[in-house]
Amino acid sequence: MSRMLNKIAIITGAASNPGLGYSTAMRFAQEGAKLVITDIDMVGLAAIEKEIAATGAEVLAMAQNVVDEQRWQAVIDATVERFGRLDVLVNNAGIAVLKPINEFTQADYNMQMDVNLRSVFLGCQKAVPAMKDSGGGSIVNMSSVAAMRGMAAVSVYGMAKAGVQILSKCVAVEHAADGVRCNSLHPGLIETNIQNDARRDNPENHAALGAMVPFGRMGYPEEVANCVLFLASDEASYVTGAELVVDGGLIAG
């Protein structure tokens, strides 16, 4: 259990439990990483920080609005100051604004694109110099199957996630010579707070969605965390600009 031994990793959006950021942080901690976890929800984040520290892992928790450029720089700087370098960035923070196209306000649109795409651009932009100084690194960007398939009520979310997909490839191409790998991860339906909210808001629709998964079930956040782990680890040393789909067969159909 030492794939991430002494690797320094930033994970954004780590406060929600159940959540992909939370599960990734816990898995990374198990595998020996030193962590910087961020979220806009400081109360939730403090609880996660405590849980991770209790496992014996070194962890620094920072409040972060991932849309704020200066805050990104502060997170990177604090990481390097505390741990000496940066090896891994997991751009996980995200929200889902789900509604039919004709119901979108400009405010909805801007919020969805900012939190899910601008954030990832900023993260990649700010992290690369620190990774370059560290001799290289791995960036894992949380995209979605919604980037690849049209789904009703998922248009702007899908647009943002599709942006993440192509951004990841460009980062890979632009920074391969710096030793930086960058990949996008495409989960399908996973049992997280985003799904819990969707289930609460529209139970029939949600049940119908779950029945569509060929596996017969939604995924567990741990299953997505395992994919992040692989992409972040040295075992993925020749994997860059790739799209890893983890969806129980949802879009193979």
Binding site: A176, F215, E223, F230, A236, Y238, V245, V246, G253
Partner: protein, 249 residues
């Protein structure tokens, strides 16, 4: 290697050289019980000896995956020896020399399709019949970066690899609710005997990849082991590029 496949029965076709050999040694290091096949007796004997010397339990079978009788006999031998098959890596594949499309002979086309596509088809059918009896199985097919990117002058190979990707995805859908996970690995250029036989100057190949180098068999094997392991437990019908950024461009 951080993977653990202790006591799992793993089949790798075309394990006598290149990526198949790399996978065999990786699975052996991870504690698996191996079945290795090849069409060359010499290559097969060599890999069996090396694996046994490293302490692995290994069954070697001289088989041509394009021959349905051979494939049926292969599964029978696996079950007779080990009683089950947990993981199959359908790796055996060939390429014909680089040449313009209009110069390719029908025989060349047929042979490449027979091994690279029908071989995977036949092996998957035999493997899945067994895995259905077991109620569990994992299959990793050797696709290619050229399952999505193209490669001029390699039309039979590219066609076969596009097809392997489609075969992987559609068959994965059929068995997704029966604990049989099927995915494909898409390697970029690696200095295997197959690649070296096609291209004199490997440094030219390196420029296809954002990382500006060829991959190693170990790097590809890491991806195969990932797809065969519980780390990828929610993935089926997926294609994993291990190509140093080729597919990104």
């Amino acid at each position: 290697m951080a993977f653990d496949f202790t006591d799992e029965v793993v089949l790798i076709t075309g394990a006598g050289a290149g990526l198949g050999y790399g996978c065999a040694t990786a699975f052996a290091d991870a504690g698996a019980k191996l079945v290795v096949t090849d069409i060359s007796q010499e290559a097969l004997d060599r890999v069996v000896q090396e694996l046994q010397r490293s302490g692995a339990e290994v069954l070697g079978l001289l088989k041509d995956v394009s021959d349905s009788a051979d494939v049926d006999a292969m599964l029978k031998a696996i079950i007779a020896h080990y009683g089950r098959l947990d993981i199959a890596v359908n790796n055996a594949g060939i390429a014909t020399p680089l040449q313009e499309f209009h110069e390719v002979s029908e025989a060349q086309f047929d042979r490449v399709m027979a091994v690279n596509l029908k071989g995977v088809w036949l092996c998957m059918q035999a493997e899945i019949r067994q895995m259905l009896k077991q109620g569990r199985g994992r299959i990793v097919n050797m696709a290619s970066a050229t399952s999505r990117n193209t490669y001029p002058n390699a039309s039979p190979y590219v066609t076969s690899k596009f097809a392997v990707a489609g075969l992987t995805r559609t068959v994965a859908m059929e068995y997704a609710n029966r604990d049989i996970r099927i995915n494909a690995i898409c390697p970029g250029n690696v200095a295997t005997p197959l690649v070296v036989s096609l291209v004199e100057d490997l440094s030219v190949l390196a420029t296809k990849h954002a990382m500006n180098r060829l991959g190693t068999p170990e790097e590809v094997a890491n991806g195969v082991l990932f797809l065969a392991s519980d780390l990828s437990s929610f993935s089926t019908g997926s294609l994993l590029e291990v190509d140093g950024g080729w597919n990104a461009t």
